[in-house]
Amino acid sequence: MSSQFSSQKTRKPGERTFGLLLVLGSVYLFFQAYSIAGFSELSSAGAFPMATSAAMVLASCIIFVNTLKLPAAKGERFAHNCLPPMVAIIMALILVYAVILESLGFILSSFLFLFITIQFLYRRSVLTTLSITLLSLMVVYVIFRLAFQVVLPEGIVPEREIIASIKALWR
């Protein structure tokens, strides 16, 4: 899909390893598929998974061999072109966000996540980041939690009590 990678004449750093991992993973999945029902019947529960994993083994082998034929891309390093520190840090931040989401609740964890990532990627003053974070969090909360009634983890914030008391004020 990403057009920047569509015409491939050279091999990217880490591509051989990725190709090898795909071959190994496909072979492992093929044996898992075999263990469902073996070669017992063509209509068994394992027949279709075996066919798909066999296609994966075949395709990944072709891909791996083709990759080996390509010359390495000049001047590209894995840590620079393939997994730059920024991408790795963001991946880690998303992971942390997912871990704290249920315990801290949607509002607090999303606030922390948005604040840190926007500050890190947008690089403006703390006050600007803070106001952008609060505004976007409010919009998301109103659309999803209030309009679409999506259930979001509450965590340690007593949301329902707060909403109820706000509603009570209007009466």
Binding site: G14, G19, F48, T52, Y97, L152
Partner: protein
């Protein structure tokens, strides 16, 4: 005359008119927000409209459906993130157009072509519903199976530079779809003894991961580059353009209706097939496909909206959903005490004409909202990436969580997000993975039904396959796609054919 009054029912009642307008407007934005699917929105709507009058509920949901199928194209064009699977093909040429600063023109053109496609779908639904349903009854399980495989091969061969990578991605998707308890024998498949895996991996989590997270991670590579100011000076498309592309739009609309009418196959496959068709019939595009060809934008957009009308054909005549959204609609009709199926058209023909009229009305609202809301919408792209990307992550996580209120879905989404990032990095197409996941159970079940009816004999399967014209055509298409990838083709046939055509 009776049918006409039912057709016009939602046009004349202010309440129904307003609800259809609201539904279409919501649908466009729901469809456009990555991770928020039309299916999800319609299912949520069922839960708080089941106490309403059935007509009111249907108006709102039909609006969301029609708007949502169209709305997916906007984020595909502006952000290269298809808001819905039916917009996967739209991104291939729509996004390059936006990068050239033609976002407004691309959106305007896709709106008009979507509406044309939508009307073709509705007209066919109204005129041909009975006869098309008769044709669909003759489909054998093997035909459904081959349609599934053909869909994956098509998306694999057209969205990447190597079919091997496309096949790998498609097979991976099919495999992901089989995870869990087998629906026929309740045997565990790829569950590794984990009970949470019994229900399988949520396809929406895979989709959000592969498209939302992995795309946003890729965008981080280009943080330093300035965002291209999206020129949206011209929204109403040029009359010349409409006239020029109308034949293609009509052709692909018919592809869309037919694919949409096939049970299980909806706008996503219709759009990809239409894209492939456009690629084949356009001999000398002004701009190559994949770099911003208008043909590549028009074909999938006409087809996926035409597929809406098509998807209603099996639903209203047979009670079989044409796609995921119509499956939810069947649930909604049941809740309201209606029984979709062959008897619905005989006992309650007014439901049929009401639906047709309402679809037409929603389609008109797509045109109105589609051509007016773009300026506001395009601001999303002008929003700095440093703010937009964190928000995409946030919406992806909320979207994944909201499907089942399960944190497990977030883990799957993240895993597929990171895996998808590396797949994209090394030139693998991610579209086939999603298609594989969606088509997995259909292909698996129909393969087993097909082989069971032949009492396990592959020879009998082949003999009977060639006795049906439809099966033969499907089989030959699959064989042809695979054959074009073999060394025999590239070393012998291709140069020969090329020589013959150049002489």
């Amino acid at each position: 005359m009776d049918s006409l009054s039912f057709f016009a029912m939602s046009w004349l009642s202010p309440e129904l008119l307003g609800l259809t307008a609201l539904g279409t407007f919501l649908g466009i934005y729901v469809g456009a927000i990555p991770g928020l699917s039309v299916t999800m929105a319609v299912s949520i709507l069922i839960s708080f409209t089941f106490s309403w009058d059935v007509n009111n509920a249907l108006c709102l949901m039909i609006g969301v459906y029609m708007g949502g199928v169209y709305g997916g194209s906007r984020t595909a064009i502006l952000l290269n993130i298809p808001g819905a699977p039916s917009a996967i093909a739209t991104a291939l040429d729509g996004f390059p157009l936006a990068r050239k600063g033609l976002a407004g023109e691309a959106i305007g053109l896709s709106t008009v072509m979507s509406v044309i496609g939508g009307f073709v779908g509705i007209i066919v639904l109204a005129l041909a519903a009975p006869s098309i349903s008769e044709f669909a009854i003759t489909f054998q399980p093997r035909d459904y199976m081959m349609l599934g495989i053909l869909g994956i091969l098509l998306v694999g061969s057209l969205s990447g530079n190597s079919l091997a990578k496309g096949i790998f991605a498609g097979a991976l998707g099919l495999l992901i779809g089989t995870v869990g308890l087998d629906p026929m024998t309740v045997e565990e498949r790829f569950t590794f003894g984990v009970i949470e895996l019994w229900d399988g991996i949520n396809p929406i989590a895979v989709m959000i991961g592969m498209f939302g997270i992995s795309e946003a991670l890729h965008q981080l590579h280009h943080m330093d580059k300035a965002v291209i100011k999206q020129k949206i000076s011209r929204i109403i498309p040029k009359w010349v353009d409409i006239k020029k592309y109308l034949p293609l739009s009509l052709q692909t609309s018919f592809i869309g209706v037919i694919i949409g009418a096939l049970p299980g196959t909806g706008g996503d496959i219709a759009a990809l097939m239409a894209y492939d068709h456009a690629k084949r019939v356009t001999k000398n595009p002004d701009v190559p496909f994949g770099e911003g060809a208008k043909e590549g934008l028009i074909a999938p957009e006409s087809a996926n909206n035409a597929a809406v009308g098509g998807a209603y054909i099996p639903m209203l005549t047979l009670g079989i959903p044409g796609d995921a959204v119509t499956a939810v609609f069947i649930g909604a009709l049941f809740i309201h005490g209606l029984n979709p199926g062959p008897l619905l058209m005989i006992e309650q023909p007014h439901m049929f004409w009401f639906t047709v009229g309402n679809l037409a009305l929603a389609n008109i609202f797509v045109l109105i909202f589609g051509l007016t809301g773009i300026r506001m919408f395009s601001k999303i792209v002008e929003c700095p990436k440093g703010i937009l990307i964190p928000l995409i992550f946030l919406l992806s996580i909320v979207g994944a969580y909201a499907i089942n209120n399960a944190i497990t879905d977030i883990w799957w989404m993240l895993a597929f997000g990171v895996f998808g990032y590396f797949m994209r990095l090394y030139g693998f197409p991610v579209g086939p993975v999603i298609l594989g996941v969606i088509l997995s159970s259909l292909t698996d079940e129909n393969w087993r039904r097909a082989i069971l009816t032949e009492r396990g004999s592959v020879t009998d399967l082949f003999i009977h396959l060639f006795s049906s014209p439809l099966s033969t055509v499907l089989f030959m298409s699959i064989a042809l796609i695979l054959f074009t990838q073999t060394p025999v083709w590239s070393k012998w046939m291709k140069p020969k054919l090329a020589r013959r055509f150049s002489n």
